[in-house]
Amino acid sequence: MHLDDAGVAYGHRFVWRHADLEVARGEFVVVLGPNGAGKTTLLRVLLGLHPLTEGAVGVLGGAPRRGRHQVGYVPQRRSLDPDLNVRARDLVALGVDGSRWGLPLPGGATRRKAALVDAALEAVGASAYADRPVGRLSGGEEQRLLLAHALVTQPRILLLDEPLASLDIRSQGVISALIARVARERGITVVLVAHDVNPLVPFVDHVVYIARGRVVSGRPEEVITGETLSALYDYPVEVIRDSRGRIVVVGLDDRDSHHD
């Protein structure tokens, strides 16, 4: 996956431009940046849902194209209607053949599809609630389900938009570890948009940050520093190490800053 001097504009305003990015196969990339910086736009460009205004983009040795089985996508969550009575399993199954015309006919294809769906649900530990209505799942269950949906076509790239948002602290850790494990086992390249980098620190190979129209990438130890993050968010941020040497990122009190 790569971007060369790429830029995206809505109307005359560039969201970001002059972006250069190189993601190697099997890498775990976390995309950071303030709200509205264009993180989701980056994922939509990689999905082929939004064209570049300038520059070039390549995904798996070609231009991005929507509907590819090699690319799995987990969109940002809005909560589903709790009265929506459709089984979790059916949502995953639509990942296999949801864009096809006509009715699915019973036979070999349907059996193969069921096997794929079962395997994907199993891989993310969602088999237990596969027959429950999607509207009734908890936040963590829903993220697992969406991950199963993205994995069901056996993709080589996984694009995730804030999969940890609105999860409790434990679910954040569990889901991060799950994504990292599945990606490692299957050699999947991951691009994950996040606000809170803490649960992802153990897994990340590469950090991309988007702010004020610029896209910059680097090694985690280069980017996850108090200086860089403070500049990125325009807000005082400190990076500290806990008793086990793990990195923790904290936003500081606004009192001493020159923030408006």
């Binding site: 209607d81 929506l84 459709v86 949801g98 864009s99 006509g102 009715l103 999860l167 679910s171």
Partner: protein, 295 residues
């Protein structure tokens, strides 16, 4: 009213029911409209389009009354204007979900226009009454054929787009990423909905048409989480309430539209009461922290 009496001999009752041509027409057209509305309704409910569907029925009323003013067949105006509005709504908004203000305004505007057209024509008449509340017992052979042809086209389209439509109705972003043309599906579905609305208007009238579109589908949704089965159940329920309502109207001196809407609402209420303990509670008893620890 016809001099017929309900007996406990169901065979003789059946013969009474189908003895008259108008009843055969009513059962046939009602049945076709019920099958179509039952199937389309599942997606109306899934997409949260109940209010949008209701608006289309009012648009249909304005179209039909407008057609009468200029001397056209009301069905032409009914289908024409609902289809036009369907395309407009689908093109303007990929989703009508949460657009109640716009939809509500279209609804009252078109109802007002319908009223104007009726005044221009002849003031209140039998035709007004038929458009608003249905005239299922007064359908001609041609009316039945029109409903049948429309339903055939709509059901074929619905079958063809079943999976992309279901996908886009559940989650438009996932569907879009998988290559579904979300906007195309939205417009195509609204066109199918326009045909269903026209068929339902012929049977129970513009003001009540939405009952046949929503109640059976909502009832089926309470009963199963399988989309295919949900469509099947919804069709069966719609058929049952339509034919049941017609039979009641045949023996009792009250309008068929009243029985059809009452039966469908009662069916929904009954199923809702029965299943309230069956479906997993909205608020789950385990706190999320414990729930997420299971895997």
């Amino acid at each position: 009213m016809v001099h017929s009496h309900f007996t406990w001999n169901l065979v003789s009752d059946w013969h009474q029911l189908v003895y008259y041509g108008f009843m055969r027409h009513a059962l046939l057209a009602g049945g076709i409209a019920a099958v179509l509305c039952g199937a389309v309704g599942v997606f109306v409910v899934l997409r949260g389009l109940s209010f949008g569907a209701d608006t289309l029925t009012h648009v249909g009323f304005a179209g039909a009354s407008g057609a009468v003013v200029v001397g056209l067949n009301p069905v032409v105006g009914l289908l024409g204007l609902t289809a036009l509005m369907a395309v407009a709504l689908g093109a303007l908004e990929e989703r009508l979900r949460g657009r109640d203000v716009v939809i509500g305004m279209i609804l009252v505007l078109t109802l007002g226009m319908g009223l104007l057209f009726l005044r221009l024509y002849s003031g209140y008449s039998n035709e007004t009454y038929a458009l608003l509340f249905g005239a299922i017992l007064a359908l001609s052979t041609r009316d039945v054929v029109v409903v049948a042809v429309g339903a055939l086209i709509a059901l074929a389209a619905l079958t063809a787009m079943f999976r992309p439509l279901l996908f886009a109705s559940l989650d438009d972003e996932l569907a879009e990423a998988r290559g579904v043309s979300v906007r195309g599906v939205a417009i195509a579905f609204l066109l199918v909905l326009a045909i269903a609305v026209a068929a339902a208007t012929q049977v129970i009238g513009a003001l009540l048409a939405v009952a046949l579109l929503i109640a059976p589908a909502a009832t089926a949704q309470r009963l199963t989480g399988r989309p295919g089965l949900s469509v099947l159940l919804s069709v069966v329920i719609a058929l049952a309430v339509t034919w049941g309502g017609l039979a009641l109207a045949f023996w009792l001196p009250y309008p068929a539209s009243f029985f059809i809407t009452s039966l469908s609402t009662l069916g929904y209420l009954g199923v809702r009461l029965l299943t309230s303990g069956v479906m997993p509670a909205r608020r789950r008893p385990v706190p999320r922290l414990a729930a997420s620890a299971e895997g």
